[in-house]
């Protein structure tokens, strides 16, 4: 039988499949963080049961941590309490923690791959919807709720129904100034914020194959923004080269065996997908969002749809969205001033993102009207950036290089964009209030964000490189 990659991974993780019940799936790696885990540990305590396989769960503190002065106690009492609870819970239940001050600390979806914890063929879950990031390695990775976090802690399994499979093929080659973030924003703008709900997406095609692991992670990361359960990319030589030698990756004879297995992880030719979409990379320009869901995106030179171009029944939501953004239907964004630039988040905070930005801004200086925050994805990314002198480039440009965490992507810590201000952000969500109450977000690539930092407005990076 011809099988898709999702089916191959699924089939090899079914512990029990009973008619009328969802499948019990075995989970290889479980990541936890401070925000969605405390109630799960409480649940275990109430039931009087331990963590079933403590070595298969790894913890870090990321959502709620400050991004300056991490060596000092957290000022905000509730945040401090939540981070302390994680320390207490992981110690009590025997789970490894990469907490503040640890050289491996960082955003959960950045540290898993860089430590070689994330591997092809795995099932990976975390109480965070951007867990789909790990799909870039040919793993089946998806976000779960806290009740499910408790299930995984208690049994290393989760109950799931087999998802439908969607193939998204990006053919051809990307144009200058267009990067992987633009690919995924483009796809979402075409199929909407709910276009892949119920599906697990496999990304393929020449344009995907040519991407680095970091760039692939950016794409898989935002699968959830079109509603997908997850997204993955079949592993190849790029994947294996990235993993080899990383801290927790298999070594020696184990590596050879693992590699032989990983090479079987692809969708068979003629495997059946429930839906297939094809796009041409050459049609993609640098993208930007104008509304309050990630599906409301467009090419940077385009205009926001006019009211007449929006279907009748969608007009109230469309109008509400543009009212929030204080933007006119039919208008352009190019040339519009911005107040903040945020380069970070599990979507775009890896070393390659920082290098891309540094290459572009070297010798330039930020515009006076913008505040620029660069938040590396992990302590290792931060250390590497310093080793390469990237911190000096940012300093000279007037950017603030902060310490790792989720930061202004969701504004749980102090890193909030003030009400009414516009922020061009490399993160994944432009929801109302996402970056702070009444803050307004334009999602874009690190290059487009860097162009805004230098010019002080929404700019077409292709004219600047």
């Amino acid at each position: 039988m011809k099988r898709t990659l999702v089916d191959k991974i699924w089939d090899s993780h079914v512990v029990v499949s009973k008619s009328g019940f969802p499948d019990a799936l075995y989970i290889n790696t479980h990541f936890i963080h401070e925000v969605t885990s405390p109630q799960a540990f409480d649940g275990l305590r109430k039931r009087g049961i331990p963590v079933f396989r403590p070595r298969k769960t790894r913890a870090t503190a990321d959502h709620n941590v400050p991004t300056i002065d991490q060596h000092l106690p957290i000022k905000e009492a509730l945040s401090r309490h939540q981070v302390e609870m994680l320390t207490k819970n992981t110690a009590e239940f025997g789970v490894e923690l990469y907490g503040l001050g640890h050289p491996y600390q960082g955003i959960v979806h950045v540290i898993g791959p860089e430590l070689g914890i994330t591997l092809p063929g795995m099932t990976i879950v975390c109480g965070d919807s951007h867990t789909s990031t790990h799909g870039a390695f040919g793993a089946m990775a998806f976000g779960i709720g806290t009740s499910e976090v408790e299930q995984v802690l208690a049994t290393q399994c989760i109950l799931q129904y087999r998802p439908k499979r969607m193939k998204i093929e990006i053919n051809g080659q990307l144009k200058k100034g267009v990067v992987s973030k633009d690919i995924i924003l483009y796809i979402i703008s075409k199929i909407s914020a709910s276009g892949a709900t119920g599906y697990f997406v496999e990304y393929c095609g020449e344009a995907i194959r040519s991407l680095s692991m970091e760039a692939r992670m950016t794409i898989c990361n935002m699968s959830i923004e079109m509603g997908a359960r997850g997204g993955l990319i079949a592993p190849d030589e790029t994947t294996f080269a990235y993993i080899k030698g990383r801290e927790f990756a298999p070594k020696g004879a184990d590596w050879e065996k693992a590699l032989a297995y990983w090479k079987t992880l692809y969708s068979d030719a003629d495997a059946q997908f429930d839906k297939t979409l094809r796009f041409d990379a050459a049609d993609i320009e640098p993208m930007i969002t104008y509304g309050t869901n990630p599906g409301m995106g467009m090419g940077i030179t385009q205009h926001i749809p006019a009211l007449e171009q929006v279907e009748d029944k969608e007009r109230p939501s469309f109008k509400k969205s543009l009212d929030y953004m204080a933007l006119e239907p039919g208008s352009a964004l190019l040339g519009r001033p911005v107040d903040y630039v945020f380069i970070g988040s599990c979507t775009n905070s890896r070393i390659e993102d920082l290098r891309m930005v540094a290459d572009f801004v070297k010798g330039k200086r930020k515009a006076d009207n913008v505040v620029v925050w660069i938040v590396p994805g992990s302590k290792q990314v931060e250390a590497q950036a310093k080793k390469e002198g990237i911190d000096k480039v940012f300093e000279a440009a007037g950017f603030q290089l902060r310490e790792p965490g989720c930061s202004a992507c969701l504004g749980m810590n102090e890193d909030k964009v003030p009400a009414g201000m516009y922020c061009i952000s490399t993160s994944n969500r432009n929801f109302e209030g996402r970056q702070g109450p009444n803050a307004r977000t334009f999602l874009a690539s690190p290059l487009t964000a860097a162009a805004a930092a230098i010019t002080g407005k929404v700019a077409d990076v292709r004219e600047l490189v």
Partner: protein, 199 residues
């Protein structure tokens, strides 16, 4: 305390907005609690209160005409973040059912795990429900989980809804997934013994 759900007749609160994400249901800055209780007071916080924490008169939860245990919302409800706090906030506020023409996956799971019934109806039926509530704020809806239907009491219009049999049994009987998974221990250990690598 075990909860369950079987049958309900109630008035409903209409929220005819599409793509309501979980950041709207409960903004991130209210996710700092370490228990499951008390999230109801911040349900739809930034739509419900202004910057000075005063209720916004034009938001439906501040409109005394509308109340009940059923929330009716536009399509793609619960998209975005996986935060189960969204389901906790909805339950804590007192809703037992959410009706929409489309739900995001993770939210649907989280709702079911908290004994909130997400009912997916057709676009047409959703409009009928909104119209019925607009015509009469006290319009009642009847929900029967066993028979899998939702009815607008005043007009008699009804529609059947899908729910998988396992989750239906959990809701009716008040079981949760951990009870079932814990019963599989032997099978889980057998599975582990058969795998050379952890992938």
């Amino acid at each position: 305390m075990k909860k369950n759900f079987q049958h309900l007749i109630s008035t409903a609160v209409p929220l005819p907005i599409e793509n309501i994400d979980t950041d709207q249901i409960i903004p991130a800055r209210f996710l700092k609690a370490t228990t499951r209780e008390g999230f109801g007071e911040n349900l739809f916080r930034d739509w419900r209160y202004d910057a000075d924490n005063q209720p916004k008169a034009d938001f439906v939860l501040n409109d005394s005409r509308y109340k009940g245990e059923i929330l009716v919302a536009g399509k793609n409800f619960g998209c975005g973040s996986s935060r189960e706090h969204a389901a906790w906030a909805i339950a804590d506020y007192g809703f037992k059912v959410v009706v929409s023409s489309f739900f995001a996956d993770i939210f649907k799971n989280n709702a079911l795990n908290n004994f909130i019934l997400p009912i997916q109806v057709s676009d047409d039926f959703l409009q009928q429900v909104f119209s019925a509530i607009e015509a009469d704020a006290n319009a009642q809806l009847e929900v029967d989980l066993e028979a899998q239907f939702i009815k607008i009491v005043a007009t008699g219009a009804q529609e059947n809804f899908d729910i998988n049999p396992y989750k239906k049994a959990c809701l009716i009987n008040g079981y949760d997934d951990i009870d079932y998974l814990l019963s599989l221990r032997q099978e889980i250990e057998k599975y582990e013994a058969g795998r050379e690598f952890n992938f």
